[in-house]
């Protein structure tokens, strides 16, 4: 199958701004699915609200476009009722870690077999450029004309501490990595988080004098390093697979519980 076979062509050209990194995530997410040879019918994509969340509308999988911050809650319901399906949840940084932060840590704690993709542009794109918990100190935003005083979350550290069993980071410059990391995350039997640093030239770029999309991609290229090379370059942001571990998976444990209750209900009380 080609990329065109996985998209809803009738909605193209898409709504994203020229040079928006979210389009590059869509592009390579499709390639990851293609690499794995998955059938469109085996995939459920659940998204919330935001520019990033629009991705679900453009892909020809089973798709649910739900509420801002609540995609993982809906996805948990889908996965528990149909554990044989691959559930993928693309989220913006606000969607995942501001309003949706609670769902995020608990999905990680339960280690439910869902693929979470955090499309981190460090800003609220859809609503006009407000700062998010991933903007970082001294970032300028519509709501922080003099720079924010809020420290940022590190998505990788947060997901790891909360219990995610696969955690990776890459950027929209490193497209081969997006494809590989998303494919690994889909196959991983537990809660998998892939943070993709994704440029929003319209708000983050303009407010922070980072130039156009090309310039922002150069920053990703020069400002990040593979994880194993980071000790030599501690100033740069590491990319790679940070966590890949085995932990009991939530749907499996639930299934065992149901079976135990059916065969020997008394022993459980």
């Amino acid at each position: 199958m080609s990329v065109q076979d996985y998209i809803r062509e009738r909605f193209f050209p898409h709504i994203w701004c020229p040079g928006c990194g979210h389009g590059t995530v869509l592009n390579n997410l499709v390639r990851a699915v293609e690499t794995l040879g998955l059938d469109k019918n085996e995939i459920v994509m659940v998204s919330g609200i935001g520019c990033s969340s629009r991705i679900a509308g453009y892909l020809d999988f089973h798709t649910l476009h739900t509420l801002h911050g609540r995609a993982l809650a809906f996805a948990t319901g889908v996965k528990l009722s149909r554990p044989e399906l691959n559930v993928i949840v693309p989220m913006g940084d606000g969607d995942a870690l501001a309003i949706g932060g609670n769902h995020f840590i608990h999905a990680a704690r339960r280690n439910i077999n869902i693929t979470a993709i955090v499309m981190n542009n460090r800003i609220y794109g859809m609503t006009g450029g407000q700062f998010s918990p991933l903007s970082g100190e001294a970032t300028t935003a519509t709501t922080a004309p003099f720079g924010t005083i809020d420290p940022d979350f590190d998505t990788v550290a947060l997901a790891t501490a909360a219990g995610a069993s696969y955690v990776a980071r890459t950027t929209t410059y490193h497209v081969q990595e997006i494809r590989k990391r998303i494919a690994e995350a889909i196959v991983h039997p537990g809660f998998a988080v892939v943070e993709v640093m994704s440029q929003c030239p319209t708000y983050f770029g303009r407010k922070n004098k980072q130039g156009d999309a090309v310039e922002m991609l150069r920053r990703y290229k020069e400002g990040t390093v593979p994880l194993d090379k980071q000790p030599a370059d501690p100033e740069k942001i590491p990319r790679g697979v940070f966590v890949q571990r085995e932990r009991p998976e939530y749907c499996k444990r639930y299934e065992h519980l149901v079976q135990a209750a059916m065969t020997d209900g008394a022993a459980l009380t």
């Binding site: 994203w16 389009g23 592009n27 929209t172 081969q176 999309a213």
Partner: protein
């Protein structure tokens, strides 16, 4: 000498939004942005079919179709 079956680079100008990413990161300067702010192929013969343009395009507006000879060489 030009290859017999050169790589074909198709640009969908209805979808291209003129961001310039493909042209900026092409290792062989095959692409430029034209006056209408669309990507345009200017040196197809230099294309090494790395597909970086296709994979980085946020608008799915580029498709690189390798020459049959190249596909065969890679497969073997």
């Amino acid at each position: 000498m030009k290859p017999k079956h050169p790589t074909v680079i198709c640009i969908n100008t209805d979808w291209c939004k003129g961001c310039g990413i493909c042209a900026a990161f092409c290792p062989k300067q095959v692409l430029v942005m034209n006056q209408r702010d669309k990507a345009e192929v200017v040196a197809a013969e230099n294309c090494i079919a790395c597909k970086q343009c296709e994979q980085r395009c946020p608008d799915l507006a580029i498709q690189v179709i390798k020459s049959p000879a190249k596909e065969e060489k890679e497969a073997s």
